[in-house]
């Protein structure tokens, strides 16, 4: 197997007295798409935010490409790690191109270079000609693709995605998921993908990590999870959510 690009070693995070991550140990392999699933409030987002240092754990440590995530140079780390959040998090006062190229602007690239690179990543997500538009002129699905394009801009080895498709209607979501699978195959990036949608998790993930109240219950391929759930709880969780379909 290829080496781990992200490693959580016995990570514990508390907010006040509440334990949000409870001794989590987990590895994400190079080029792997690992999906994290769990109920709302189970700590998925917090886990993700440990990777780019938006959250710093009290115990244990998080290693990205062999280096511990620490208070030091988080900005540089974040520029090397793509980050996509639920609503897309697009800046409403900037054009699509400006949104996509913002990391380039932050690192001082010249405008010609930014504009060329933005066109490139926008083409990758199938939005070649939308650069001059403003986010509010785009459909929900298009906005999500812009969010992904922005994360791809600096060609990061790692991408973090926090329920990127949660707010889209089911049809558009399926389309986005298909495209995302294609994108992952094409770019072969290491991805940590958070969702609370079981179908999405089983469909997308190379492996799926199941969380409950800050604890990692099981991490396995979708097939293994279905066939050999580690507990009755997991079996029920997968069955029920899958039966309910997307919500």
């Amino acid at each position: 197997m290829s080496p781990a690009l992200i490693r959580f070693e016995n990570v514990t995070k508390r907010f006040g007295t509440q334990v949000v991550l409870d001794g989590v140990t987990l590895e994400v392999m190079e080029g792997e798409l690992l999906v994290v699933i769990g109920h709302s409030g189970s700590g998925k987002t917090t886990l993700l935010r440990c990777v780019n240092g938006l959250v710093l754990p009290e115990e244990g440590c998080v290693l990205v490409d062999g280096h511990a995530v620490a208070v030091g140079d988080l900005t540089a780390l974040r520029r090397r790690v793509g980050y996509v959040i639920q609503a897309g998090g697009l800046f409403p006062h900037m054009t699509v191109e400006q949104n996509v190229a913002i990391v380039g602007r932050a690192t001082g690239e010249d405008t010609a270079r930014r504009s060329a690179r933005a066109a490139e990543v926008l083409a990758t997500v199938g939005l070649g000609d939308l650069g001059p538009r403003f986010p509010r002129e785009l459909s929900g699905g298009q906005q999500h693709r812009v969010g992904i394009a922005r994360a791809l801009y600096a060609d990061p080895a790692i991408m973090l995605l926090d329920e990127p498709f949660a707010a889209v209607d089911p049809l558009a979501r399926m389309e986005l998921q298909d495209e995302f699978v294609r994108l992952h195959r094409q770019l072969h990036k290491t991805m940590l993908f958070v969702t609370h949608d079981v179908d999405e998790a089983l469909y997308l993930g190379d492996r799926v990590a199941v969380f409950e109240r800050g604890r990692l219950l099981q991490v396995d391929t979708p097939r293994t999870l279905r066939q050999r759930p580690a507990s009755e709880y997991i079996a029920r969780f997968l069955r029920r959510r899958a039966a309910e379909g997307t919500t």
């Binding site: 935010r49 780019n52 938006l54 900005t75 540089a76 780390l77 974040r78 520029r79 090397r80 980050y83 959040i85 639920q86 609503a87 998090g89 697009l90 800046f91 409403p92 006062h93 913002i102 990391v103 602007r105 932050a106 922005r150 994360a151 973090l160």
Partner: protein, 495 residues
């Protein structure tokens, strides 16, 4: 529509540059001649100003709307004003606290304040008692002591005169009048009542132009009870050294204006609504054969200057409000603990009445444009700080999370995300602040800052609605223009 806004802005800036801050003629000494807001003071200041203009090469700057003795005296001491007309009695009572003797006043003012006291101009504007000519004639009353024979007369006096020890109570004692039959009454009403015969005696100032209108007679103060309010000019010694010809000018005026002449001039302004400048010109023509120098400004030019100064005050004040308010708003957003203190301070500033805030600036910054700018800038702070804070706080947490997660520095988040999104809010604050500044700047004339307030205040003093409107209408239009201008910028930013 955008171009209309640009034209308005260009016009404002052009007027500011052309007329805003007067720049003194190269190397020529500049004399700042001031007065309080009263008619007589303005006429006297004009006389001096025009005489200096006619007979010396100096440039004259007029500041004739000071709110009171202490304001203009402080300005004189601070060097913001070079000369203004004053009364010996006021110098005794309000400034030196010593009894009157001309030589002593002159000596004391030089020693204590480095001020030169001009020779007396020739009239005494003190309290007098006035009666209708008919009553006085019938009762054979010519002097105050004659009133002792007529306890039946009804007196109507100003509230101030009724109570002051150098008013009625002292007078009764000095002349053995007993307790006269007196009621208190507003000055303007007193004259009407006297004319109609409802009252028979009232107090007045000896050079009040209204006395001529009603043809009242004034009674001789035969026991010299009332203090002397002899008119003269106070001049800074330093100004006299820089502009030595002023000494000769003051000598020309010494003893040149008697009580009758002054009363007539006051009447021309108060009753006939002739401008103090024209009345002064008439006096100089008659007494010295001086034709008004061509340099005397037309009303249009003066109005443009006032407008220019007003725009200058407004724009510069708003600029500083933004310069201070924006960082304060940002600080308030970032530091919840500092927030309360900041909002409290800028909120309190706004609750201070503008006239009081202006007055508070005087001990710190003196008189003129600087203290006015400081007061205006402070006064305009609240809308900018509050709107900056509100604008920054309504940036959604998701956006901030995205910005941080993408790897923007705190500074970049502020400059690229928070401020641009808050910009329409901030501009709305600037708009409010600018409109406040235009309004408050009209009051700044009280501390010698100039602007359209000069016209409004002069109009109020001279009871001249035309002049009030001459200042008020451009001020209102300016407020509307500024409001519209910033609003257009706001719209352009929102798109």
């Amino acid at each position: 529509m955008r171009s209309t806004a640009l034209v308005a802005l260009a016009a404002m800036i052009a007027i500011w540059f052309l007329y805003g801050s007067p720049r003194a003629g190269a190397g020529r000494p500049e004399i700042v001649i001031a007065s309080k807001q009263d008619t007589e003071g303005q006429i006297l200041a004009e006389i001096l100003a025009q005489l200096v203009e006619a007979r010396t090469p100096y440039t004259v700057v007029r500041k004739t709307n000071f709110g009171g003795t202490l304001l203009v005296f402080e300005a004189l001491r601070a060097g913001a004003v070079d000369a203004y007309p004053e009364y010996s009695g006021t110098i005794d009572a309000a400034i030196l606290h010593e009894p009157y003797a001309f030589a002593r006043i002159r000596e004391a003012m030089r020693r204590r304040y480095d001020l030169f006291v001009s020779g007396e101009l020739g009239f005494n504007n003190t309290y007098v008692l006035a009666m209708s000519a008919a009553t006085a004639h019938t009762l054979r009353v010519a002097a105050i002591s004659d009133l002792a024979r007529h306890p039946e007369l009804r007196w109507g006096v100003t509230p101030e005169f009724l109570r002051r020890s150098d008013g009625l109570p002292g007078l009764e004692r000095a002349y053995g009048l007993g307790t006269v039959d007196a009621v208190d009454i507003e000055k303007s009403l007193a004259y009407q009542a006297l004319a109609r015969g409802t009252i028979q005696v009232t107090d007045a100032y000896s050079t009040d132009g209204e006395l001529l209108r009603y043809r009242f007679v004034t009674l001789t103060d035969d026991r010299h009870f009332f203090p002397q309010y002899r008119a003269l000019f106070l001049v800074r010694d330093a100004a006299m050294r820089a502009a030595p010809k002023v000494r000769g000018i003051l000598a020309m005026l010494s003893g040149a204006i008697d009580g009758r002449t002054m009363t007539a001039m006051n009447a021309r302004v108060d009753i006939d609504h002739v401008s103090p400048a024209d009345v002064a010109a008439g006096f100089l023509m008659q007494h010295f054969g001086i034709r008004r120098a061509g340099g005397s400004e037309s009303t249009t030019l003066r109005l443009l200057r006032a407008l220019g100064r007003h725009i200058e005050l407004t724009l510069v004040a708003v600029f500083f409000s933004v310069l201070i308010g924006l960082p304060l708003g940002i600080l308030a957003m970032r530091r919840p603990r500092a927030r309360q203190a900041i909002m409290k301070v800028v909120g309190t500033l706004q609750t201070i009445p503008s006239i009081a805030l202006l007055a508070l600036m005087i001990p710190l910054f003196g008189i003129g444009v600087l203290p006015a700018l400081v007061a205006l800038a402070l006064y305009g702070l609240l809308p900018i700080v509050a709107n900056t804070l509100a604008g920054l706080r309504q940036v959604s947490p998701e956006l901030l999370d995205a910005a941080e997660g993408i790897g923007l520095s705190t500074r970049q988040i502020l400059l690229w995300v928070q401020l641009p999104i808050a910009l329409p809010f901030i501009l709305a604050g600037v708009r409010t602040s600018a409109v406040i500044a235009v309004g408050t700047a009209t009051i700044a004339a009280l501390i010698g800052a100039g602007g359209l307030g000069d016209f409004i205040l002069a109009g109020l003093t001279l009871n001249d609605p035309h002049m009030i409107l001459l200042g008020a209408i451009p001020a209102a239009l300016l407020a509307i223009a500024v409001d519209e201008l910033v609003y257009r910028i706001e719209l352009a930013v929102r798109r």
